[in-house]
Subunit: 469 residues, 2 copies
């Protein structure tokens, strides 16, 4: 008995010595976190998919992506996440939304855009939108987005500085645009106020690792040419992105043709507005010339299939836009009646199905293309492709783990098909943004969810009462 | 101390006596289960919604629906479910699917219907579909469907008797149609075999509380007129429903016009096939005359928006069908490449969005209408409206609880909007079928999920290998 024990000990010591000899501890590089064992869907230029892969993270960056054995041999890590049975992806990018409108979720549906805006949304906003409202709405939205694997979002609303604070507190990445419209809005009563607010906002967030402060002139029909120029000047001064709705509805096209003798895109080009700092939401009513211009000027487009269907805005020519060389991302739009959720995985699914039925061709837009739109193409659309959108060394560590352990996840014949058509927001179980774990096993780590849900109920009652009087 | 204890006891006895006096225990009726405290969305004729409502269940039936106070005053129950913070609804009805195809989930996507069927589905089925395959596929499907609030489904596949056994074991309700095609299929090599199999199958399940055995001639293009007549004779002998694909693709319409000088619906009517026992899946290529015929003959239609988009089959004229008086339900279709999941809540959302964009009118089909299609209209479409589809005394106790405690669920301004556009399959947390709790707090009680998932992985590998050789 004793000799057998000694033999076992000797073997163990030997194995340890051998392992130490093969890969000396002191030669390993340090990482803060290693995620290992999953199927790593890199979305890099070659769209590598690594079975039994791993990702090493240091600070807020990815420092290594490869096979598990290779990464584990190279790094020692302070923390590990076992990703067996999971897909490991770059976080999804919600390229267009209005996050505080979560508090108006589904306020009114199944009416025309005019009735919806004039009878419901504008009165509800006028009576309820304060900085406090915006904060709680952002928190609710952050909870919902993290739960569906979104790590970056582009927003257009009021009190955007408060939205930035809440986004940062939630640990999310944001391209956050203060809205400009040619009429008084909840936070600014005129252009002088808007300029003061926006300039302070842009200055404050310069160089922030998570927050990209932006300016968001609503559209060509709610902003004059002068407003658009002023916004552009301000944006260029602070190297800030510009977010704008472009060619969303037929009326916008018709009115622009009548007033400007040009399509919305050609009008924006004529006034010198288009450039590689612009993110154009929707881009539905765009012709071949428009698409060529958008591509040439480096404008990013964001497709919002739920919203476009819900409001019957039209079907964006996404395959043609991609073919023209435009980076097209995906967005949920706001949840007040044009979606009514912030679930980007539904947009992935819808984007492909909508093109197929619209063109009566199942090949119109495939699973891989829409997963690209939610990740690397989406990153390019919001002009952050050097920072996010793929799992590559040097990029920000914005990473999601999707569980393959639910009935809807099995069997899996093709990763992209599964992502586009079978996996759901709820299958996302872990989310990391800039190296920080913000959700683990579906538990939110940066947000007080119970308090947020209670506030959401309270605001629901308040908004309902405000519309009754 | 002693006197205080005596006092407490006296108070308790007094309270008991008082409660006993107000509602004497012996006068209360017995119920097996009372679900109390939620928002009960009855889907009854008046579409009553009861805040702080309750449902009492005895055996497999609903015996009482009302306000909580009223139901609790009337019934003592062996078991209680607290439904505070939940919607309580009749279970969803998946009116058209092919459940064993879960094992071929997303086998191939983004190709034309022809390529998909001939190069992938038919070879995969020929090489893999056995009774054992069908059993595991049904178990996987049952797990997925229960998790998304489906309590009843209509199926068309092979070895349907095995599907019936597994459906019953899972505690689900099914209208299960043995498939008939004019060529050899995995379970039957000719019509004589099909007749023998089907007759035995129909006899076996007569009077079963959960299983409605049915016959499923595939379509007019894969079944001759003689086959359709033989199926009808068999179905009528056993009072069995008939499930069939009708007017799904343009080619079916064109070919029927050429061969029969009639649309598919008018051809089926001419040969005396249409009646109140028929459930017609798809009904896309139907004109006004077809719709009038379907309504007059009491045929139920089932709309499958995901599948119709995915395969680019066309957009069913659902509003026109409803206006003609046809009961139109909702279905997922099979998950092998025409969906790729069994999530009926996504079909609710898609059904309305698809009509809105197709008609370029947000009023085309509203939230309440699509919730009807998933419940009471769906029940009527599968001819079980006397049994299921609403929460009313005398109906089967098929009930789901949907949690309103996740970020996407709040705030809630309108119950139907929330159900159609914001709530997800994952929000369903409890499912009761025929009075039996089959899922509680998202834990499946009738299925061995771990084993099923392992088998799904195994079949995935086996199918992949079978197509490589």
């Amino acid at each position: 008995m004793k000799s057998r024990l000694l033999y076992v000990c000797a073997v163990l010591v030997g194995a340890g010595a051998f392992a130490g000899f093969a890969i000396p501890q002191e030669k390993k590089e340090h990482a803060d976190l290693v995620i290992a064992g999953g199927t790593v869907v890199t979305m890099d230029a070659d769209r590598h998919i690594l079975e039994d892969g791993a990702v090493a993270i240091k600070g807020d960056q990815v420092v290594g992506v490869g096979k598990r054995a290779e990464i584990e041999a190279k790094y020692t890590a302070a923390a590990h996440i076992d990703a067996h049975g999971h897909l490991v992806l770059p976080g999804f990018i919600n390229g267009h939304t209005h996050v505080p409108m979560t508090l108006l979720r589904g306020l009114k549906n199944d009416v025309t855009l005019d009735v919806w805006l004039k009878n419901y949304i504008f009165p509800a906003e006028a009576k309820n939108v304060t900085e406090e409202f915006v904060r709680w709405g952002t928190r609710l939205a952050a909870a919902e987005m993290i739960r569906s694997g979104v790590t970056t979002f582009a927003d257009m609303y009021y009190f955007e500085d408060a939205i930035a604070e809440e986004t940062k507190a939630a640990g999310m990445r944001g391209i956050l645009g203060e809205s400009w419209l040619d009429f008084p809005v909840p936070d600014n009563k005129n252009e002088a106020e808007a300029t003061a607010y926006t300039e302070k906002f842009l200055k404050r967030w310069q160089g922030d690792p998570l927050i990209h402060a932006a300016v968001a002139p609503h559209s060509i029909y709610l902003c004059s040419q002068k407003t658009l120029h002023d916004v552009q000047t301000l944006a260029q001064k602070y190297h800030a992105p510009i977010l704008i709705h472009v060619a969303e509805i037929k009326k916008e096209l018709d009115d622009s043709l009548a007033q400007n003798q040009a399509t919305p895109v050609q009008y924006l080009n004529r006034i010198g507005f288009l450039g590689p700092d612009v993110v154009a939401a929707h881009c539905i009513w765009v012709d071949a010339t428009d698409r060529k211009l958008l591509a040439e000027k480096g404008v990013g487009c964001v497709h919002n299939p739920s919203s476009n269907m819900m409001l019957a805005s039209g079907v964006a020519p996404v395959p043609e836009e991609r073919a023209a060389g435009i980076a097209v991302g995906l967005g949920t739009d706001g949840p007040a009646g044009s979606n009514n959720d912030l679930d980007l995985m539904e947009e992935i699914d819808l984007a492909t199905k909508l093109q197929k039925i619209n063109k009566m061709d199942p090949r119109a837009l495939g699973a891989k293309s829409v997963v690209e739109m939610a990740t690397i193409a989406g990153a390019t659309a919001v002009h952050l492709e050097k920072e996010i959108g793929s799992l590559e060394t040097g990029k920000k560590a914005d990473i999601i783990l999707i569980n393959l352990g639910e009935p809807n996840a099995l069997p899996m014949y093709d990763v992209y098909s599964q992502l586009a058509y079978a996996l759901k927001a709820n299958d996302v179980d872990t989310v990391i943004i800039g190296g920080r774990v913000v959700m683990r096993d579906r538990k939110l780590l940066t947000l007080r969810e119970t308090e947020i849900l209670a506030k959401a109920r309270e605001y629901g009652k308040r908004v309902t009462a405000s519309l009754e009087h």
